[in-house]
């Protein structure tokens, strides 16, 4: 991974970002945070609706149709800006323990979001009548929200990877 990170740092895109890092990195990070805001807003609304704490004048499929596409779109924005940040600072990201733990949770969060949206589309009736009232489904919605909050924590902790001690691969 060290060699890969070093190689990635020599590619033209990486060099271009590094040359302009004074403004490029903060700008990409800011767009990344805007994306995080959209994701968290959408996940919060969907979770609150599943828990019966918001938008009770709408059905779950209606709420999903409103926030699902924004959630997916924001995740794509995060993917693009996230990749740019990796290419721009390969060693900071790829050698950080926080980064890999974050990627694991992103995979869980994204899979959960995909499965949820697909299931609501396919089984509108079941969701509205039965599934919403199952404790397990409500617990899962809460877990999804917590996963995204944990992802934000880990994202910030990439900058402080030394807190993990020997788990951290970055010596910077």
């Amino acid at each position: 991974m060290k060699d890969f990170a070093a190689w990635l740092g020599t590619t033209w895109l990486s060099v271009a970002i590094q040359k302009n890092e004074v403004w490029a990195i903060p700008t990409i990070q800011s767009v990344h945070i805007v994306g995080i805001g959209i994701v968290l807003g959408c996940v919060l609304m969907l979770t609150l609706r599943v828990l019966g704490m918001a938008a009770m004048d709408l059905t779950l499929p209606q709420v999903t149709r409103r926030f699902g596409p924004w959630l997916t779109g924001a995740l794509l924005l995060l993917l693009v800006t996230g990749l740019a940040l990796i290419v721009g600072e390969p060693e900071r990201e790829l050698l950080a323990f926080s980064f890999w733990l974050k990627m694991l949770l992103v995979a869980c969060g994204a899979a959960l979001s995909w499965w949820f949206q697909r299931s609501v589309r396919k089984h509108e009736q079941a969701w509205e009548t039965v599934l919403l009232h199952r404790t397990r489904v409500r617990a899962l919605a809460t877990v999804a929200l917590l996963i995204w909050i944990a992802i934000i924590f880990l994202g910030r902790f990439i900058a402080y990877d030394h807190i993990w001690g020997s788990l951290s691969g970055s010596k910077a």
Binding site: P26, S30, I33, V34, G37, A54, I163
Partner: protein, 374 residues
């Protein structure tokens, strides 16, 4: 209440001393601001008629705004706690001030909306708000995005970047000089320190941030960006190599190589002047010791430097004197002399480090005794 007295609060001191508190506060701050932006965006998009348009405005805002306010309170709390750890530095930062003004603007914008269009129920079920409401919605989205951008930039202008700009000068060809074994980082700027830094008392004493605000370098930044790269270069430029062909002294040979050595020695001289700066800070806000337990935390170093200023300055002067001796050898192109002089520089570094950087490190103390560091 002055900024300095805020920094002196026990809670500020605890955050500075902890390895985990500042990063945790920052992470909570990001969660909170993401919620502020994410929830207010839903309301703004409803106002301008882009999303949730089939739902009455009052229901959308009723769902969202309580979360916006709760998240804003959390962001303000965590933000204040981060602010007091280094109040003077943040207060002097242009982006911090811009961010505060933008938040104020967002508040005024919200107030205008609430007192006009927001109070009217006539458009509650319409696709979008009337004229002034549209303006408020657009202003809100723009301002909050700018708040995020300013906030992120604060982190770069109070720590790394301001100093990074100071080293954006022509690099010496490190690789060819060292036979290609430079341990260069991804930025390729290992040789780092600048031509401008090589003139004692030059403007390098002040790194200019992107907004033009002057930020004096901290001890940590001076070490990281000037002293360490220069030292590493110097210690590698002349050394005894032992292999199967016997042992010999590897030293600069061409005029250009000797000139590089002189440049690096001048970096050390000017760094010594910068270390003399009154009120110098130990490290940028949020910086933590890389080897806690062995190295002192910035707050401890700060206290120790502040209460022994004359001694600290004497250590800095010792570095300069040692660099002066080495410069004479470099001028005479005398490898043996340079080697001896570098040992003097090494001892100057070590004696200051033992006193201020890792006073608790028993092993280093022992080693220093054996090496004759006083």
């Amino acid at each position: 209440m002055t900024l300095q007295s805020l920094e002196a609060l026990p809670v500020a001191e605890s955050i500075r001393r902890s390895l985990y508190l500042f990063p945790t506060l920052e992470a909570i701050h990001v969660v909170a601001l993401a919620l502020v932006f994410g929830t207010i965006l839903v309301v703004d998009l409803r106002i301008v008629g882009i999303a949730s348009t089939e739902r009455p405005f009052s229901r959308v805002s009723g769902d969202m705004l309580k979360w916006t306010w709760a998240a804003f309170a959390l962001a303000a709390l965590t933000g204040s706690l981060m602010f007091i750890t280094n109040a003077r530095v943040y207060w002097d930062n242009t982006f911090f001030r811009a961010k505060m003004l933008l938040i104020l603007l967002a508040g005024i914008n919200m107030l205008i909306f609430q007192m006009t269009v927001g109070r009217s129920r006539e458009w509650d079920r319409e696709r979008r708000a009337p004229g002034l409401g549209l303006v408020c919605g657009l202003v809100s989205m723009t301002v909050w995005i700018l708040v995020i951008a300013m906030g992120r930039t604060i982190g770069f202008t109070t720590t790394g970047v301001a100093a990074k700009e100071a080293k954006a000068a022509p690099n010496i060809d490190f690789d060819s000089f060292l036979g290609g074994d430079s341990g260069g980082g991804p930025a390729g700027g290992t040789s780092a320190t600048t031509a401008s830094a090589s003139t004692p008392g030059s403007p390098a004493s002040i790194a200019t941030s992107a907004a033009g605000a002057a930020v004096p370098l901290t001890i940590q930044e001076l070490m990281d960006q000037q002293v360490n790269p220069a030292g590493e270069f110097l210690f590698r430029s002349v050394r005894i190599v032992a292999d199967d062909r016997g042992s010999r002294l590897e030293a600069p040979s061409t005029g250009a190589q000797w000139s590089d050595v002189r440049d690096k020695l001048n970096v050390l001289r000017s760094a010594s002047d910068l270390l003399n700066a009154p009120g110098i800070k130990a490290a940028p806000p949020g910086f933590r010791a890389e080897n806690p337990g062995v190295e002192s935390e910035p707050a401890e170093i700060q206290t120790s430097v502040d209460s022994n200023r004359a001694d600290f300055n004497a250590h800095a002067a010792r570095l300069k004197a040692a660099a002066d001796v080495a410069l004479k050898s470099a001028d005479a192109k005398d490898p043996q002399g340079l080697m001896k002089a570098l040992d003097g520089i090494d001892k100057a570094c070590e004696s200051c480090h033992l006193r201020y950087f890792y006073p608790r490190d028993k092993r280093a103390q022992q080693q220093a005794k054996e090496d004759g560091v006083d």
